[in-house]
């Protein structure tokens, strides 16, 4: 029987092949053992809501595999994607530490494995082990930087094409290694729908569609399902600066 998801579910944090390269998970074995005891592992399909904005915080989720979007509702009732969370991130941190409701909604963008740690267990874990506190602080400094960069980007961007070019360039930092691409192209996997890209850059789906169509017409971009090929990075960079 084929597996339901195209990734290996890692039940045991001590045996996780990625633990060293991830900001939070690179803990000594004795702490990973404690983590193993207090976390529960679950696998979610695309579109699963892990927590909702305004919901009382009940714990944190550590993304093991898959990506998820953090979104919020603007003053005028529109959905805004704050950022895309990557594997290794701890989500719900600020609310759990401060004991306040979740500030954003977390929704999976693809099949995802996440470990859940309840609020009481997490606070105890951080409070008792300074090394964990250090990891949490460093995760938060990273999150602050992302938020400040996003604010700066909002202030600097003048047009939707520029914003979308910046987004594509950001994604191109994680290229896919696939045989179908031409040597000059950069392949990326895009799991956001055009509607979600619109929520990310603050525009309409129709505008995103029009801009992507324009990029394709100019030969800057090829789209094959969820795999996109950046054919002219220099042109995107010129547009984005």
């Amino acid at each position: 029987m084929s597996p339901a998801y195209d990734f290996q579910i890692v039940q045991n944090c001590l045996k996780c092949p990625f633990k060293e390269e991830r900001l939070f998970c690179g803990l000594p074995n004795d702490l990973l053992k404690t983590l193993q005891e207090i976390k529960t592992t679950a696998v979610y399909p695309r579109g699963a809501l892990l927590f909702l904005e305004g919901q009382p915080s009940r714990g944190v989720f550590v993304l093991c595999t898959g990506r998820a979007k953090l979104s919020t509702t603007s003053a005028d009732g529109k959905t805004i994607i704050l950022r895309i969370a990557e594997p290794g991130e701890v989500l719900g941190l600020t609310s759990v530490i401060a004991g306040t409701p979740y500030e954003a909604t977390l929704e999976t963008l693809e099949p995802t494995q996440a470990n859940f740690i309840s609020q009481a267990d997490f606070i105890h874990f951080v409070d008792q082990h300074s090394e964990v506190g250090m990891k949490v602080a460093h995760q938060l400094t990273h999150n602050c930087k992302c938020a400040y960069d996003e604010i700066r980007s909002l202030g600097l961007s003048n047009s939707v094409p520029e914003k979308i070019a910046k987004l594509l360039l950001r994604w191109s930092a994680r290229p896919l290694a696939i045989p179908q691409k031409k040597s000059s192209e950069i392949a990326i996997r895009v799991t956001l729908t055009q509607e979600e890209i619109a929520q990310f850059v603050g525009t309409s789906r129709e505008t995103v569609s029009r801009v992507l169509g324009d990029f394709k017409k100019k030969g800057w971009l090829r789209i094959r399902g969820a795999t996109w090929f950046i054919a002219n990075k220099a042109a995107l960079e010129k547009l984005a600066t």
Partner: protein, 148 residues
């Protein structure tokens, strides 16, 4: 009591307060400058400061903070220039702890990281609230700019 001290054990608070330097800063002075690693961890005792992020030449005001606000923590922690600026809006009374001394105390008492995380979490919430409230009109960027 400042936002960092609020979550610290009395013994650690006492130790840090031994190194505090008091200062009065006039209005319009930058307490934290973007791109410059601060020499001190700063806490506001009286007065108010504007916290902003600059986008090109355009400063974007994130918030106005007052008594109890701690500034420069993130930058000192990762030894990297800050992304934000803090400018006094009026005459402010501040306390400063030299960066190296704060880092030494942090190394001796890593339990401080929990309190540090609370301050960083509050800063992150401020930034994300700004993103949430950023007017749709401003996010809804013009589409007539040429892509050539």
């Amino acid at each position: 009591m400042n936002e960092l001290y609020q979550s610290l054990a009395p013994g650690i608070r006492e130790e840090l307060s031994k190194y505090e330097e008091q200062a009065i800063v006039p209005a319009g002075r930058k307490l934290i400058s973007e791109g410059v690693i601060p020499e001190h961890l700063i806490a506001i005792e009286r007065g108010s400061v504007e916290i902003s992020v600059s986008a090109g030449n355009k400063p974007m005001s994130l918030s106005v903070a007052g008594k109890g606000k701690v500034l420069g923590l993130r930058s000192i922690l990762i030894n990297a220039p800050p992304e934000v600026e803090a400018t006094t809006l009026e005459e402010c009374a501040i306390v400063r702890i030299p960066r190296d001394i704060f880092l030494n105390v942090l190394e001796e008492h890593p339990e401080i990281y929990f309190a540090v995380s609370k301050v960083l979490g509050a800063d992150l919430n401020t930034a994300e609230r700004f993103l949430r409230k950023f007017p749709r009109a401003a996010r809804n960027l013009s589409i007539d700019s040429s892509t050539t």
